[in-house]
């Protein structure tokens, strides 16, 4: 599917989706409420067949957080980037690890490093940090006077 086709088909599915201009791949911005539903369609609809979630990450924009999903389809070889915009004070988004199982570890990593809560995640424990860790290291305002070296 070409970029334009992807844009029109996804616009039908998720109302309120906005598109970023330029870039390597089409980037769609959506709200967290719409994401699990859209994800399920993207995976199961034979039109899209986005079966390969190759990168999940979070970004702290100071005003808000985004969780970025990089999806590709092994059948059609088209790629889509989905950005879910989250409230910084109470970041919550539904999990997609029942759709793409690779998301389980990635979401656990984002949960502890960015403080994003993934609703209905089967195993929401710390993966990397100790259980008693305070704060979310990859947020921009995280300060650790002992371990962090500023250049």
């Amino acid at each position: 599917m070409t970029r334009e086709e992807l844009q029109t088909s996804i616009a039908e599915l998720a109302s309120g989706a906005t598109w970023d201009e330029g870039g390597q791949w089409p980037v769609v911005n959506i709200l967290p409420e719409a994401w699990p539903e859209l994800a399920r369609t993207l995976k199961s609809d034979p039109l899209f067949a986005f079966d390969y979630l190759f990168c999940v990450t979070g970004v702290d924009w100071k005003s808000h957080l985004t969780v970025v999903y990089h999806l590709t389809s092994l059948r059609f070889r088209h790629t889509l980037v989905v950005k879910v915009k989250l409230d910084r004070a109470k970041p919550q988004v539904g999990t997609v690890c029942d759709i793409w199982r690779t998301a389980e570890l990635h979401e656990r990593e984002i949960r502890e490093l960015f403080g994003v809560e993934f609703l209905h995640h089967p195993d929401p424990r710390n993966l990397i940090l100790p259980d008693v860790w305070d704060g979310f290291p990859l947020r921009k305002d995280y300060e650790d006077p002992v371990n962090m070296i500023k250049l």
């Binding site: 390597q24 791949w25 079966d51 390969y52 190759f54 570890l105 993966l127 990397i128 995280y142």
Partner: protein, 371 residues
Amino acid sequence: MIEELGTTEQGELVINIGPQHPATHGVLHLVVTLNGETIRKVEPHLGYIHRSIEKMCESLSYRQFIYTTSRMDYLSSHINNHACALCVENGIQVEIPERAQVIRVLMDELTRIASHLLWWGAMAMDVGAITPFFYAFREREMINDIMEETCGARLTMNYMVPGGVMMDIHPNFQRRVKELLLQFKHKLPEYHELVTDNVIFQSRTKGVGYLSADDAVSYGTSGPTARGSGVPCDIRKLYPYDVYSKLEFSECLAKEGDTFARYLVRMNELEQSIRIVEQLIDNIPEGDFQAKTKAVLKLPKGEFYQRVETARGEFGVYMISEGAMQPYRIKFRSPGFSNLSALDHMARGAKIGDLVAIMGSLDLVIPDIDR
């Protein structure tokens, strides 16, 4: 914190494999629930060498941050550096001289051979044969010597920089690579004789740790792990970078999806890497080894993503620039992290000995997973 681990309510035994254990090749910590010898569950616990490289990169310039990536997957440091260099080059829109591209690909493939050799020795050691490790190191040592001459380092090369490579190849480079190829082609059948054809090795690996193609995709596995299940995912073929599009090599696939299939894919990749090196070694074009770039790099506002094929699978660099001298955010998509997530699925119902074989076939490098 790891809670006090003993037995579960069902009387199953819980043992810790790692963080210091001969099978985990690093500080990976697996909490394994056992029923007798049979595995019920495998839970990875990470973070023992998490250095938060992604956070570190946010305060480093575009030239500096590349050096941290050598310390992630230290067995394919060239390829990690390559990905970052490509990503920055995308941003600054610079044309890379042909010579630099060829040198980069040569280094990538030599790294892949070295990495697979180490894996081969370690894999054999995991299933109990110690001797292959030394044979693998004999050839790997030659590659390390070649790298040392040209890059000045044997493990964390830091050779690829935005715009090309840091310095020109050593005058001995071509001669020594040819020596290596000559010896290696002669030794590869020996490897197959010693390990691949061994009855015990085959019975230890065939049918063990089955991963179906659908699961391989769902778990986001890549590289030989996914190709062992028949999923074509070689980035060099699908999204070629540098001179890969002009080269002749085939993507190694296997259908079985078991440990032996993953083993064979890697062994075949060794041959393909030799093929690539052979095509390039006599055809290094004359010219500059580095494009002219500004001393201080500034990327335009935007997002850049570069995927490359490391020895373990797809390595991705996701870089967000706000137009400053430093990246706003960098995410490294490491192949090991996703491959590890499939371990629990593959190991359930297998024996302890199988777990070790499966881990060996995934070729986990822990700093790559922890970052």
